[in-house]
Subunit: 225 residues, 2 copies
């Protein structure tokens, strides 16, 4: 690591983030080439390279070999952003993540019901059906689809911070417990997801709140020792 | 970036994290030198360097020039881990972060009151007094001390995930609103902090819950347009 170039590269990285935000570049947007970026950011090309490297490490950019540099679909959310891989007691951590879900998600469901568009409802319905299909066919897809279902509700809630945070919490629970073989929760979840969907489609916030609270309490017991 | 070394470096980085967790290295622990690490991880020294670089980017390690590589005090929590610097509507984001605080922190205070040791109470008292000192002397210290006060309560709550998450939420609010000159909340906060402290010292969970809820609702109005 060249000592002297580090603060400059950090500065260039900050400018590059500003440039992306100001231009409202969506995920998947291709950045201008190194030469043009160097001119825009008013730094040398080696500094641009180091800045891009740093932003790639933070999941803000994605370097595709031989193709160019793109705005990452991970929207700057780091892998394991909260350092959970550092916590040794994964059983306690899982319980604690469920406690957070219990506090946040009933309100998320209530707001999702309040703000749902018809298109949102169709997307929820699609995810619920895909999870059921995975249950019926004995595939593991339902794990990631479940993260998507709850992330979709977070997005629908309109809370920008929860839209970033909830996927991280769900992803953490599924990663930590990848090899966990506890109580089979598929039948419970099948019923619960349908109840949540029904409440959202009916734009019934209190029903959505209650259905989500029951779902989380029920699923969390499946992870008990 | 050397293409071929990347997956190996990532693997070495994962092994290095395991090594740190298994040995329960505390923040500030100095790692063995590159030569010994290469032997432990069964990779070459250039791969060790790349792995260290990646873990430093993730705030898991800290490279001190001329001194060595240490376990970072940031415990793997990335800078801006949830990508909030990407969100353009910072006013909405601030409101949404307060909504999360409102959902999480009353329970944090209740559990802190339940589990508080005498030493915890002394630390809380110290932070409350330091914030008052900063108010009285017109310094800006109270901003960071306030983050510390709420982080200390999260730690006392015993929830491992909240212990990582709440400092991030507080830090984000103070960073986003660095230049914000809204309603002066110092007198409100002075009273509220004393009420929370009193409830925790009395091990009164419901009182702590209520005092925290009132505090957050009151502070959040200070950020309204």
């Amino acid at each position: 690591m060249k000592k002297s170039s580090l603060p400059l590269a950090e500065l260039a990285a900050e400018r590059l983030v500003e440039y992306i935000v100001d231009n409202q570049f969506e995920p998947g947007t291709r950045l201008p080439n190194e030469y043009d970026l160097a001119a825009t950011l008013e730094v040398g090309r080696s500094t641009v390279r180091e800045a891009v490297r740093r932003l790639a490490a933070r999941n803000i950019l994605e370097v595709r070999q031989g193709s160019g540099t793109y705005v990452s679909g991970k929207k700057g959310v780091a892998d394991d952003p909260l350092g959970f891989s550092f916590i040794k007691d994964t059983y306690k951590l899982t319980q604690d993540l469920f406690e957070i879900r219990m506090l946040l998600e009933p309100r998320v469901a209530a707001k999702a019901a309040q703000f749902a568009t018809d298109e949102d409802c169709r997307e929820l319905e699609r995810l619920v059906a895909a999870i059921e299909f995975s249950y019926d066919n004995g595939t593991d897809d339902h794990v990631q689809l479940d993260v998507q279902l709850h992330s979709q509700l977070a997005k629908m809630s309109g809370n920008l911070a929860l839209d970033s945070l909830l996927p991280v919490i769900h992803q953490s629970i599924s990663l930590i417990n990848r090899d966990f073989k506890g109580k089979d929760l598929r039948e419970d979840s099948r019923v619960a997801h349908r109840k949540i969907l029904e409440a959202v489609v009916a734009r019934d916030s209190t029903q959505a709140y209650d259905a989500m609270l029951r779902h989380i309490l029920s699923v969390s017991t499946g992870f008990e020792k």
